[in-house]
């Protein structure tokens, strides 16, 4: 009873460890897996865990967007690409050993620098009292939306002048990104499209379509002839019936 009676304000830390371990662990999975589909799967989990970290950090909107756009959209696209090019030879591709060595050295040193930087600044290392972190999650979607339309609401207490002086929020980047997206959409659609002329004998052409096409070009003799013959069928060699034909 004593054990369970302990108030435990460490939920944030608890979930942070879970999500961070998942993000990093599956990140390693991406790196070390040879199979490109498994890589994609690990990447999904890694990015999903990152979204969890975003939620923890109070950025609920960004977290949801991460799940929706990144995981639900971009990665599906990626996996789609994987499947379109999924030939046995390319599913598993080994990395050259020298690549590994070089990458490990460079990556390791980069990591050292980054970690040093991360923990170096005293200001960033100041722990916060996270006891009521959950309930502090506030309505950030609204200010984000406002910021995108050109109103800054993040720096509290700014005077009107200060805001107007060049700090017009994110309207401009928003528009740029929108146009960028449009351009990308058109560009990607254009690039992925190839138009080739093939000959009618190509096995990809539809013989039926071709026939129809030909018929349109040169009206067939068969079409002119009437099919509406109402008499019964008979043998062409039957002399009796042959005379009927002449009537």
């Amino acid at each position: 009873m004593d054990l369970i009676a302990v108030a435990w304000p460490y939920w944030h830390q608890f979930f942070f460890i879970i999500f961070a371990a998942a993000a990093i662990g599956f990140g390693f999975g991406v790196l070390l897996s040879k199979n490109v589909v498994r890589m994609a799967f690990y990447l999904v989990l890694s990015l999903g865990s990152t979204a969890g970290l975003f939620f923890l950090a109070g950025a609920e909107f960004v977290g949801a967007m991460q799940l929706m756009i990144y995981v639900g959209g971009t990665l599906v696209l990626l996996i789609f690409g994987v499947m379109l090019t999924a030939q046995k030879d390319f599913i598993n591709m080994d990395t050259h050993t020298q690549d590994w060595i070089l990458a490990t050295i460079v990556g390791g040193s980069l990591l050292m620098i980054l970690l040093f930087g991360a923990f170096g600044a005293e200001d960033w290392n100041t722990p916060q009292n996270l006891e009521d972190a959950q309930i502090q999650a506030t309505k950030e979607a609204t200010p984000i939306g406002l910021a995108l339309t050109g109103i800054r609401v993040d720096s509290l207490g700014d005077s009107k002048d200060a805001v107007e002086e060049g700090k017009s929020g994110y309207l401009m980047p928003f528009i740029i990104v929108s146009i960028h997206l449009l351009v990308v959409l058109i560009g990607a659609a254009y690039m992925a499209r190839t138009k080739k002329l093939s000959h009618a004998t190509d096995d990809k052409s539809s013989r039926a379509k071709l026939m129809l096409f030909k018929m349109e070009q040169e009206p067939e003799r068969l079409e002119e002839e009437t099919y509406v013959v109402t008499h019964r069928g008979k043998s062409a060699l039957n002399p009796l019936e042959q005379s009927d034909e002449n009537e």
């Binding site: 379109l84 090019t85 999924a86 030939q87 992925a192 499209r193 190839t194 138009k195 080739k196 002329l197 093939s198 000959h199 009618a200 190509d202 096995d203 990809k204 052409s205 539809s206 013989r207 039926a208 379509k209 071709l210 026939m211 129809l212 096409f213 018929m215 349109e216 067939e220 068969l222 079409e223 099919y227 509406v228 013959v229 109402t230 008499h231 019964r232 069928g233 008979k234």
Partner: protein, 412 residues
């Protein structure tokens, strides 16, 4: 509407080209109507080549026919097109009668019309239902089967079997229709006529159905004839040809005095014959042809079957009237060991799936020297490969389903 403007098919536009895949569709596949196997060469969803592989149901029926007498072989015809076994019986009976120059009493002729047209209705109901199934609609299938069950009940009463009847035999039928059968049949027809508009609503005029079938698998008349397509497949391409009108006299005289239409669109106007058939108000009016439909496409093939059902209903009603009016013999079956002359005879009949031909060579013995069955589905299926090029994967069930093949008949 007969033909819309077709783009030059030599110019093929395709999106990202990906790997060619070789896929086995069947023999265990839900939409290959039995054990058809199609080997597809696809590029993503686009099918570039289809090769049908047959023979999974091959039972050497022709070889068996060389060891049995003419009447003994009747049950084997049942097992060819098992969905229209009555019509198979009829084909075989007629060719043996032709060989023996055996003429039927009038009552037997009307009986045969009743039975074979009922068989046609049953068969077309299955064709319609399974076609809905091929396109992902399960409900019409059961509606079709519900009505078919009623026909099978009637058949069971007439001959004791529900699928393989061996009812129509050379010389007539194994028995006369039981007393009261015709009344039940008329009652069924009255009920059935109310169901037809339902089926039209669920499939023929359904927007999704139309968009799945209209303009798909377009087969010009010339191509249909060239590939030997017959029956609704041929008529769906706008060819006015129905053996009940244009067949040999021995067959067409069965239909002497009957009034019915050949269901076939006029290639000039693209219109089907008017529904001159007034029975159940105007609910049996044919639904309108959708704008997207091209003559010879899957939709038209389906439509022809649907309308043929109405014509069959019409024929059965007339036949029952005539049958009731005549009295006498229903035709005695030939002897089991009836000797066949040393001649040969070929005869085609209009089975639900097309022209079913039988060829018999006799040598004076009871056992024929050679038996040959010209299968309608066999020829109809042969058009699959040219039709299924450059289409999407989902169109294959639509096209194969619209050809309405029965593997038992193809493989024999």
């Amino acid at each position: 509407m007969a033909t819309s403007k077709i783009d030059d098919p030599r110019v093929i536009e395709f999106d990202v080209r990906t790997d060619e895949m070789l896929i086995n569709m069947g023999p265990q596949h839900p939409s290959t109507h039995g054990v058809l196997r199609l080997v597809l060469r696809t590029d993503g969803e686009v099918v570039s080549d289809v090769e049908p592989h047959l023979g999974y149901l091959h039972r050497c029926a022709e070889k068996i026919g060389e060891n049995l007498t003419a009447r003994q072989w009747v049950p084997y015809t049942d097992r060819m097109d098992y969905l229209a076994a009555m019509n198979m019986n009829l084909g075989w009976s007629l060719v043996i009668e032709k060989m023996l120059d055996h003429d039927l009493p009038e009552r037997a002729r009307h009986l045969r019309v009743i039975i074979s047209e009922m068989g046609r209705i049953a068969s077309h109901l299955v064709a319609m239902g399974t076609y809905g199934l091929d396109l992902g609609s399960f409900t019409p299938f059961l509606y079709g089967f519900r009505e078919r069950e009623k026909i099978l009940n009637l058949f069971e009463e007439a001959c004791g079997a529900r699928l393989t009847y061996s009812y129509l035999t050379p010389g007539g039928a194994t028995a006369d229709l039981p007393a009261g059968w015709t009344d039940k049949c008329l009652q069924f027809l009255a009920e059935f006529k109310e169901v037809i508009p339902e089926l039209h609503t669920l499939l023929t005029t359904n927007t999704i159905f139309v968009s799945r079938t209209a303009g798909i698998g377009v087969m010009p008349a010339r191509m249909a004839i060239d590939y030997g397509c017959t029956g609704p497949v041929l008529r769906g391409s706008g060819v006015y040809h129905d053996l009940r009108f244009h067949g040999e006299e021995r067959y067409t005289e069965m239909y002497d005095g009957y009034v019915f239409d050949v269901i076939c669109a006029d290639p000039e106007t693209g219109l089907y014959p008017e529904s001159n058939y007034e029975f159940h108000g105007d609910s049996l009016d044919y639904p309108e042809i959708p704008r997207q439909a091209v003559l010879g496409d899957c939709w038209h093939r389906f439509y022809v079957r649907m309308l043929e059902v109405v014509q069959s209903v019409r024929l059965v009603e007339q036949a029952i009237e005539k049958y009731e009016a005549t009295s006498g013999d229903w035709g005695t079956p030939i002897k089991l060991t009836q000797k066949l002359p040393a001649k040969e005879a070929y005869m085609e009949t209009e089975a639900p799936r097309g022209q079913m031909g039988f060829y018999v060579v006799g040598n004076g013995d009871a056992i024929p020297w050679r038996v040959r069955a010209r299968s309608s589905s066999f020829c109809n299926l042969s058009v699959t490969a040219p039709l299924c090029q450059g289409i999407l994967l989902a169109d294959i069930p639509a096209i194969v389903g619209s050809l309405d093949v029965v593997m038992g008949e193809i493989d024999r």
